[in-house]
Protein backbone atom coordinates (compact mmCIF):
# COMPACT_ATOMS: atom_id res chain seq x y z
CA UNK A 1 0.00 0.00 0.00
CA UNK A 2 1.48 3.34 -1.09
CA UNK A 3 -0.37 6.50 -0.16
CA UNK A 4 0.72 9.48 -2.23
CA UNK A 5 1.28 12.66 -0.21
CA UNK A 6 1.79 14.81 -3.30
CA UNK A 7 -0.22 17.20 -5.49
CA UNK A 8 -0.66 14.33 -7.94
CA UNK A 9 -1.98 12.13 -5.12
CA UNK A 10 -4.39 14.90 -4.14
CA UNK A 11 -5.85 14.98 -7.66
CA UNK A 12 -6.11 11.16 -7.74
CA UNK A 13 -7.87 10.90 -4.36
CA UNK A 14 -10.11 13.81 -5.33
CA UNK A 15 -11.13 11.95 -8.50
CA UNK A 16 -11.80 8.78 -6.52
CA UNK A 17 -13.85 10.77 -3.99
CA UNK A 18 -15.95 12.35 -6.74
CA UNK A 19 -16.49 8.95 -8.38
CA UNK A 20 -17.66 7.52 -5.02
CA UNK A 21 -20.03 10.45 -4.52
CA UNK A 22 -21.32 10.09 -8.08
CA UNK A 23 -21.95 6.40 -7.40
CA UNK A 24 -23.79 7.16 -4.18
CA UNK A 25 -26.01 9.84 -5.75
CA UNK A 26 -26.68 7.56 -8.73
CA UNK A 27 -27.91 4.85 -6.33
CA UNK A 28 -30.12 7.46 -4.67
CA UNK A 29 -31.55 8.24 -8.15
CA UNK A 30 -30.25 11.85 -8.33
CA UNK A 31 -29.19 11.39 -11.93
CA UNK A 32 -28.33 14.99 -12.82
CA UNK A 33 -26.35 15.62 -9.63
CA UNK A 34 -24.64 12.26 -10.04
CA UNK A 35 -23.61 13.04 -13.62
CA UNK A 36 -22.29 16.46 -12.55
CA UNK A 37 -20.18 14.92 -9.74
CA UNK A 38 -19.00 12.24 -12.19
CA UNK A 39 -17.88 15.09 -14.48
CA UNK A 40 -16.01 16.71 -11.55
CA UNK A 41 -14.26 13.36 -11.00
CA UNK A 42 -13.30 13.39 -14.68
CA UNK A 43 -11.87 16.91 -14.34
CA UNK A 44 -9.83 15.85 -11.30
CA UNK A 45 -8.43 12.80 -13.10
CA UNK A 46 -7.61 14.90 -16.21
CA UNK A 47 -5.84 17.39 -13.93
CA UNK A 48 -3.84 14.50 -12.45
CA UNK A 49 -2.96 13.34 -15.94
CA UNK A 50 -1.86 16.81 -17.13
CA UNK A 51 0.14 17.36 -13.94
CA UNK A 52 1.82 13.98 -14.40
CA UNK A 53 2.59 14.74 -18.07
CA UNK A 54 4.23 18.06 -17.17
CA UNK A 55 6.12 16.51 -14.23
CA UNK A 56 7.65 13.59 -16.16
CA UNK A 57 8.01 15.47 -19.47
CA UNK A 58 6.48 12.81 -21.72
CA UNK A 59 3.04 11.55 -22.70
CA UNK A 60 1.85 9.77 -19.54
CA UNK A 61 1.34 6.29 -20.94
CA UNK A 62 4.69 4.66 -20.25
CA UNK A 63 4.06 2.46 -17.22
CA UNK A 64 1.17 0.83 -15.39
CA UNK A 65 0.67 3.81 -13.07
CA UNK A 66 0.25 6.19 -16.00
CA UNK A 67 -1.84 3.77 -18.07
CA UNK A 68 -4.32 3.24 -15.24
CA UNK A 69 -4.42 6.97 -14.51
CA UNK A 70 -5.22 7.56 -18.18
CA UNK A 71 -7.96 4.94 -18.07
CA UNK A 72 -9.44 6.59 -14.97
CA UNK A 73 -9.86 9.76 -17.01
CA UNK A 74 -11.06 7.90 -20.09
CA UNK A 75 -14.04 6.28 -18.38
CA UNK A 76 -16.17 9.47 -18.40
CA UNK A 77 -15.93 10.08 -22.18
CA UNK A 78 -16.67 6.38 -22.69
CA UNK A 79 -19.81 6.78 -20.56
CA UNK A 80 -20.88 9.84 -22.55
CA UNK A 81 -20.28 7.98 -25.82
CA UNK A 82 -22.30 4.99 -24.58
CA UNK A 83 -25.20 7.18 -23.43
CA UNK A 84 -25.29 9.35 -26.55
CA UNK A 85 -24.57 6.86 -29.32
CA UNK A 86 -25.32 3.41 -27.90
CA UNK A 87 -28.30 4.53 -25.81
CA UNK A 88 -27.03 2.80 -22.66
CA UNK A 89 -28.55 4.94 -19.93
CA UNK A 90 -26.82 2.97 -17.21
CA UNK A 91 -23.51 4.58 -16.26
CA UNK A 92 -23.27 3.19 -12.71
CA UNK A 93 -21.06 0.33 -13.89
CA UNK A 94 -18.74 2.83 -15.57
CA UNK A 95 -18.27 4.65 -12.28
CA UNK A 96 -17.54 1.32 -10.56
CA UNK A 97 -14.98 0.49 -13.28
CA UNK A 98 -13.50 4.00 -12.81
CA UNK A 99 -13.07 3.44 -9.07
CA UNK A 100 -11.58 -0.03 -9.60
CA UNK A 101 -9.12 1.44 -12.12
CA UNK A 102 -8.10 4.36 -9.90
CA UNK A 103 -7.65 2.23 -6.75
CA UNK A 104 -4.26 0.75 -7.78
CA UNK A 105 -3.22 4.20 -9.04
CA UNK A 106 -3.89 5.72 -5.64
CA UNK A 107 -2.77 2.92 -3.36
CA UNK A 108 -0.69 0.25 -5.11
CA UNK A 109 1.40 1.46 -8.08
CA UNK A 110 4.48 3.55 -7.48
CA UNK A 111 4.39 7.06 -8.97
CA UNK A 112 8.18 7.08 -9.40
CA UNK A 113 8.93 8.21 -12.99
CA UNK A 114 10.57 5.45 -15.04
CA UNK A 115 12.48 5.58 -18.30
CA UNK A 116 11.44 3.18 -21.02
CA UNK A 117 14.03 0.63 -22.16
CA UNK A 118 15.01 0.98 -25.87
CA UNK A 119 12.80 -1.94 -26.94
CA UNK A 120 9.66 -0.06 -25.80
CA UNK A 121 10.57 3.30 -27.37
CA UNK A 122 8.66 2.63 -30.56
CA UNK A 123 6.38 5.36 -31.94
CA UNK A 124 3.65 2.73 -31.94
CA UNK A 125 3.96 2.04 -28.22
CA UNK A 126 1.59 4.80 -27.03
CA UNK A 127 -1.14 4.17 -29.67
CA UNK A 128 -0.85 0.41 -29.04
CA UNK A 129 -1.34 0.79 -25.28
CA UNK A 130 -4.03 3.42 -25.72
CA UNK A 131 -6.12 1.37 -28.14
CA UNK A 132 -5.77 -1.83 -26.08
CA UNK A 133 -6.72 -0.08 -22.84
CA UNK A 134 -9.72 1.50 -24.52
CA UNK A 135 -10.72 -1.92 -25.84
CA UNK A 136 -10.32 -3.53 -22.41
CA UNK A 137 -12.55 -0.92 -20.74
CA UNK A 138 -15.23 -1.30 -23.41
CA UNK A 139 -15.03 -5.11 -23.22
CA UNK A 140 -15.18 -4.94 -19.41
CA UNK A 141 -18.38 -2.90 -19.79
CA UNK A 142 -19.76 -5.52 -22.19
CA UNK A 143 -18.89 -8.32 -19.74
CA UNK A 144 -20.54 -6.51 -16.81
CA UNK A 145 -23.67 -5.87 -18.88
CA UNK A 146 -23.78 -9.55 -19.83
CA UNK A 147 -23.49 -10.54 -16.15
CA UNK A 148 -26.22 -8.05 -15.30
CA UNK A 149 -28.42 -9.73 -17.91
CA UNK A 150 -28.20 -12.96 -15.88
CA UNK A 151 -29.60 -11.33 -12.75
CA UNK A 152 -32.05 -8.84 -14.20
CA UNK A 153 -35.36 -8.89 -16.00
CA UNK A 154 -34.26 -5.93 -18.18
CA UNK A 155 -32.80 -6.74 -21.55
CA UNK A 156 -29.09 -5.93 -21.34
CA UNK A 157 -28.09 -8.44 -24.00
CA UNK A 158 -28.33 -5.98 -26.90
CA UNK A 159 -26.36 -3.37 -24.96
CA UNK A 160 -23.66 -5.93 -24.15
CA UNK A 161 -23.52 -6.87 -27.84
CA UNK A 162 -23.24 -3.20 -28.85
CA UNK A 163 -20.33 -2.71 -26.46
CA UNK A 164 -18.62 -5.84 -27.81
CA UNK A 165 -19.14 -4.45 -31.34
CA UNK A 166 -17.33 -1.28 -30.30
CA UNK A 167 -14.53 -3.14 -28.51
CA UNK A 168 -13.69 -5.92 -30.97
CA UNK A 169 -12.30 -3.68 -33.77
CA UNK A 170 -10.26 -1.84 -31.12
CA UNK A 171 -8.71 -5.14 -30.04
CA UNK A 172 -7.87 -5.88 -33.68
CA UNK A 173 -6.34 -2.40 -34.07
CA UNK A 174 -4.22 -2.98 -30.95
CA UNK A 175 -2.99 -6.25 -32.41
CA UNK A 176 -1.86 -4.48 -35.57
CA UNK A 177 -0.16 -1.50 -33.92
Amino acid sequence: MEIKHTILGLFIYQAMGFYFLALLTAFLKYRKISLFIYFLGFLASVSALIYRGIYVGHFPLQNLFEVFLFLGALIFPISLFSIKFLKTNDYIMDIIIGIIILFPVGFIFSAQPQHLPPILQSVLFVPHVLVYMLAYVVMAKAALLAIKQLTSTNNYEILAYKMACVGFPLLTAGLML
Binding site: Q121, C165, P169
Partner: protein, 231 residues
Protein backbone atom coordinates in the same frame (compact mmCIF):
# COMPACT_ATOMS: atom_id res chain seq x y z
CA UNK B 1 -20.99 -29.14 -51.04
CA UNK B 2 -22.24 -26.30 -48.85
CA UNK B 3 -22.99 -28.44 -45.81
CA UNK B 4 -19.64 -30.29 -45.58
CA UNK B 5 -17.79 -26.96 -45.99
CA UNK B 6 -19.95 -25.42 -43.28
CA UNK B 7 -19.51 -28.38 -40.89
CA UNK B 8 -15.77 -28.59 -41.47
CA UNK B 9 -15.42 -24.85 -40.82
CA UNK B 10 -17.43 -25.25 -37.61
CA UNK B 11 -14.93 -27.92 -36.55
CA UNK B 12 -11.80 -26.02 -37.63
CA UNK B 13 -12.47 -22.81 -35.69
CA UNK B 14 -12.75 -24.38 -32.21
CA UNK B 15 -9.82 -26.65 -33.15
CA UNK B 16 -7.69 -23.59 -33.98
CA UNK B 17 -8.82 -21.85 -30.77
CA UNK B 18 -7.80 -24.98 -28.82
CA UNK B 19 -4.39 -25.04 -30.54
CA UNK B 20 -3.84 -21.36 -29.70
CA UNK B 21 -4.58 -22.00 -26.02
CA UNK B 22 -2.31 -25.08 -26.03
CA UNK B 23 0.63 -23.31 -27.72
CA UNK B 24 0.38 -20.28 -25.46
CA UNK B 25 1.86 -22.55 -22.75
CA UNK B 26 4.73 -23.75 -24.96
CA UNK B 27 6.71 -20.53 -25.38
CA UNK B 28 7.38 -18.66 -28.63
CA UNK B 29 10.02 -20.98 -30.16
CA UNK B 30 8.20 -24.26 -29.53
CA UNK B 31 4.90 -22.69 -30.62
CA UNK B 32 6.53 -21.63 -33.91
CA UNK B 33 7.88 -25.16 -34.42
CA UNK B 34 4.45 -26.58 -33.66
CA UNK B 35 2.58 -24.27 -36.02
CA UNK B 36 5.01 -24.97 -38.86
CA UNK B 37 5.02 -28.76 -38.36
CA UNK B 38 3.69 -30.94 -41.21
CA UNK B 39 0.27 -31.78 -39.71
CA UNK B 40 -0.30 -28.07 -39.14
CA UNK B 41 0.77 -27.27 -42.71
CA UNK B 42 -2.06 -29.59 -43.81
CA UNK B 43 -4.37 -27.71 -41.46
CA UNK B 44 -3.38 -24.30 -42.92
CA UNK B 45 -3.74 -25.49 -46.51
CA UNK B 46 -7.15 -26.93 -45.65
CA UNK B 47 -8.14 -23.61 -44.05
CA UNK B 48 -7.19 -21.66 -47.18
CA UNK B 49 -9.06 -24.12 -49.42
CA UNK B 50 -12.16 -23.98 -47.20
CA UNK B 51 -12.10 -20.16 -47.01
CA UNK B 52 -11.75 -19.93 -50.80
CA UNK B 53 -14.56 -22.43 -51.47
CA UNK B 54 -16.77 -20.58 -48.96
CA UNK B 55 -16.34 -17.37 -50.94
CA UNK B 56 -17.77 -19.08 -54.00
CA UNK B 57 -20.47 -21.13 -52.28
CA UNK B 58 -21.88 -18.69 -49.70
CA UNK B 59 -23.36 -15.59 -51.35
CA UNK B 60 -23.54 -13.74 -48.02
CA UNK B 61 -19.75 -13.75 -47.80
CA UNK B 62 -19.55 -11.65 -50.94
CA UNK B 63 -20.71 -8.56 -49.05
CA UNK B 64 -17.76 -6.16 -49.09
CA UNK B 65 -17.03 -6.20 -45.33
CA UNK B 66 -17.22 -9.99 -45.00
CA UNK B 67 -15.21 -10.37 -48.18
CA UNK B 68 -12.47 -8.15 -46.73
CA UNK B 69 -12.34 -10.20 -43.51
CA UNK B 70 -12.25 -13.46 -45.47
CA UNK B 71 -9.65 -12.36 -48.02
CA UNK B 72 -7.60 -10.80 -45.21
CA UNK B 73 -7.58 -14.11 -43.32
CA UNK B 74 -6.55 -16.03 -46.44
CA UNK B 75 -3.72 -13.54 -47.10
CA UNK B 76 -2.47 -13.76 -43.49
CA UNK B 77 -2.32 -17.57 -43.60
CA UNK B 78 -0.78 -17.59 -47.09
CA UNK B 79 1.78 -14.90 -46.20
CA UNK B 80 2.76 -16.78 -43.04
CA UNK B 81 3.27 -19.94 -45.10
CA UNK B 82 5.49 -18.03 -47.54
CA UNK B 83 7.47 -16.61 -44.60
CA UNK B 84 7.98 -20.04 -43.00
CA UNK B 85 11.02 -22.30 -43.33
CA UNK B 86 9.22 -24.57 -45.80
CA UNK B 87 8.00 -21.54 -47.77
CA UNK B 88 11.60 -20.35 -48.12
CA UNK B 89 12.68 -23.83 -49.25
CA UNK B 90 9.94 -23.86 -51.87
CA UNK B 91 10.89 -20.39 -53.16
CA UNK B 92 14.57 -21.45 -53.23
CA UNK B 93 13.61 -24.57 -55.18
CA UNK B 94 11.74 -22.48 -57.78
CA UNK B 95 14.16 -19.53 -58.06
CA UNK B 96 17.35 -21.57 -57.42
CA UNK B 97 18.43 -18.93 -54.89
CA UNK B 98 18.89 -19.95 -51.26
CA UNK B 99 17.64 -17.34 -48.84
CA UNK B 100 17.84 -17.95 -45.07
CA UNK B 101 14.75 -17.27 -42.97
CA UNK B 102 16.81 -15.64 -40.25
CA UNK B 103 20.22 -15.55 -38.68
CA UNK B 104 22.64 -13.45 -36.71
CA UNK B 105 25.63 -11.35 -37.71
CA UNK B 106 28.49 -10.48 -35.38
CA UNK B 107 30.55 -7.52 -36.63
CA UNK B 108 33.51 -5.88 -34.91
CA UNK B 109 33.94 -2.09 -34.98
CA UNK B 110 35.95 -1.09 -38.05
CA UNK B 111 35.41 -4.45 -39.77
CA UNK B 112 33.05 -5.80 -42.44
CA UNK B 113 31.14 -9.06 -42.69
CA UNK B 114 28.71 -10.90 -44.92
CA UNK B 115 28.47 -14.00 -42.71
CA UNK B 116 25.05 -14.91 -41.41
CA UNK B 117 24.83 -17.67 -38.81
CA UNK B 118 21.62 -19.57 -38.10
CA UNK B 119 22.06 -20.96 -34.58
CA UNK B 120 18.94 -23.14 -34.65
CA UNK B 121 20.21 -25.06 -37.71
CA UNK B 122 23.93 -24.57 -37.00
CA UNK B 123 24.46 -23.27 -40.55
CA UNK B 124 26.21 -20.28 -42.09
CA UNK B 125 25.20 -18.25 -45.13
CA UNK B 126 26.96 -15.60 -47.18
CA UNK B 127 25.03 -12.47 -48.05
CA UNK B 128 25.65 -10.99 -51.53
CA UNK B 129 26.88 -7.76 -49.88
CA UNK B 130 28.94 -6.77 -46.84
CA UNK B 131 28.09 -4.72 -43.81
CA UNK B 132 30.82 -2.49 -42.44
CA UNK B 133 30.45 -1.41 -38.79
CA UNK B 134 31.85 2.12 -38.55
CA UNK B 135 31.00 2.64 -34.91
CA UNK B 136 28.86 1.38 -32.06
CA UNK B 137 27.45 3.77 -29.45
CA UNK B 138 25.40 3.46 -26.29
CA UNK B 139 23.37 6.47 -25.17
CA UNK B 140 22.31 6.80 -21.54
CA UNK B 141 19.58 8.95 -20.05
CA UNK B 142 21.12 12.24 -18.85
CA UNK B 143 19.29 12.04 -15.51
CA UNK B 144 20.29 8.43 -14.87
CA UNK B 145 23.66 7.36 -16.28
CA UNK B 146 23.10 3.65 -15.67
CA UNK B 147 19.90 3.42 -17.70
CA UNK B 148 20.37 2.85 -21.42
CA UNK B 149 18.38 5.08 -23.77
CA UNK B 150 19.57 3.64 -27.06
CA UNK B 151 22.02 1.31 -28.79
CA UNK B 152 23.26 2.63 -32.14
CA UNK B 153 25.28 0.76 -34.77
CA UNK B 154 26.57 3.02 -37.54
CA UNK B 155 26.93 0.89 -40.65
CA UNK B 156 27.67 1.00 -44.36
CA UNK B 157 26.45 -1.50 -46.94
CA UNK B 158 29.23 -2.41 -49.33
CA UNK B 159 28.46 -4.07 -52.64
CA UNK B 160 31.01 -4.77 -55.38
CA UNK B 161 33.60 -2.79 -53.43
CA UNK B 162 31.64 0.45 -53.08
CA UNK B 163 29.38 1.91 -50.39
CA UNK B 164 25.76 1.72 -51.56
CA UNK B 165 24.01 2.73 -48.35
CA UNK B 166 24.77 4.31 -44.96
CA UNK B 167 22.50 3.80 -41.97
CA UNK B 168 22.19 3.86 -38.19
CA UNK B 169 20.65 0.65 -36.87
CA UNK B 170 18.87 1.16 -33.56
CA UNK B 171 16.42 -0.85 -31.47
CA UNK B 172 13.01 -0.38 -33.16
CA UNK B 173 14.71 1.22 -36.19
CA UNK B 174 15.94 -1.72 -38.24
CA UNK B 175 17.69 -1.38 -41.58
CA UNK B 176 15.83 -2.81 -44.56
CA UNK B 177 18.05 -3.83 -47.43
CA UNK B 178 17.93 -6.50 -50.13
CA UNK B 179 14.76 -8.16 -48.76
CA UNK B 180 16.21 -8.48 -45.25
CA UNK B 181 15.56 -6.58 -42.03
CA UNK B 182 18.60 -5.99 -39.81
CA UNK B 183 17.64 -5.54 -36.16
CA UNK B 184 19.93 -4.34 -33.38
CA UNK B 185 20.02 -7.50 -31.26
CA UNK B 186 22.97 -7.49 -28.87
CA UNK B 187 26.45 -6.10 -28.29
CA UNK B 188 29.75 -6.63 -26.50
CA UNK B 189 28.72 -5.45 -23.02
CA UNK B 190 32.29 -5.53 -21.64
CA UNK B 191 34.43 -3.73 -24.22
CA UNK B 192 31.85 -2.58 -26.77
CA UNK B 193 33.99 -3.89 -29.59
CA UNK B 194 31.28 -5.68 -31.57
CA UNK B 195 27.57 -5.57 -32.30
CA UNK B 196 25.11 -8.38 -33.07
CA UNK B 197 22.33 -8.01 -35.65
CA UNK B 198 19.33 -10.25 -35.98
CA UNK B 199 18.71 -10.62 -39.71
CA UNK B 200 15.23 -11.63 -40.85
CA UNK B 201 13.99 -12.33 -44.37
CA UNK B 202 10.94 -10.28 -45.43
CA UNK B 203 9.43 -13.02 -47.64
CA UNK B 204 5.66 -12.99 -47.15
CA UNK B 205 5.80 -10.03 -44.77
CA UNK B 206 3.91 -7.59 -46.99
CA UNK B 207 1.30 -10.24 -47.85
CA UNK B 208 0.64 -10.63 -44.10
CA UNK B 209 0.50 -6.82 -43.66
CA UNK B 210 -1.97 -6.52 -46.54
CA UNK B 211 -4.03 -9.33 -45.01
CA UNK B 212 -4.14 -7.63 -41.62
CA UNK B 213 -5.08 -4.32 -43.27
CA UNK B 214 -7.94 -5.94 -45.20
CA UNK B 215 -9.14 -7.85 -42.14
CA UNK B 216 -9.06 -4.72 -39.97
CA UNK B 217 -10.99 -2.70 -42.55
CA UNK B 218 -13.56 -5.49 -42.84
CA UNK B 219 -13.93 -5.79 -39.07
CA UNK B 220 -14.37 -2.03 -38.57
CA UNK B 221 -16.85 -1.89 -41.45
CA UNK B 222 -18.79 -4.90 -40.18
CA UNK B 223 -18.97 -4.03 -36.47
CA UNK B 224 -19.07 -0.21 -36.49
CA UNK B 225 -20.88 0.61 -39.71
CA UNK B 226 -23.09 -2.46 -40.14
CA UNK B 227 -23.85 -4.24 -36.84
CA UNK B 228 -24.02 -1.10 -34.64
CA UNK B 229 -26.32 0.67 -37.09
CA UNK B 230 -28.47 -2.43 -37.47
CA UNK B 231 -28.89 -2.93 -33.72
Amino acid sequence: MKKPVYNLTLFLFPFLAGLCVYTSFLGAERAEDFFTSQPLVVFWVLSIILATISLFKFIKLRKAHLLLIHVGTILIIFGSMVASEKGHELVAHITKKVKPVQGQMVIYVGQSSNQLYDRSKNMSYKLPFEIHLKDFEIENYPSCNKQVKDYISKVEIIKDGRVVKKADIEVNHPLHYADFHFYQHSYDDKQRKYTVFNVVSDNGLYIVFTGFGAMFLGIVWYFWFYELRKS
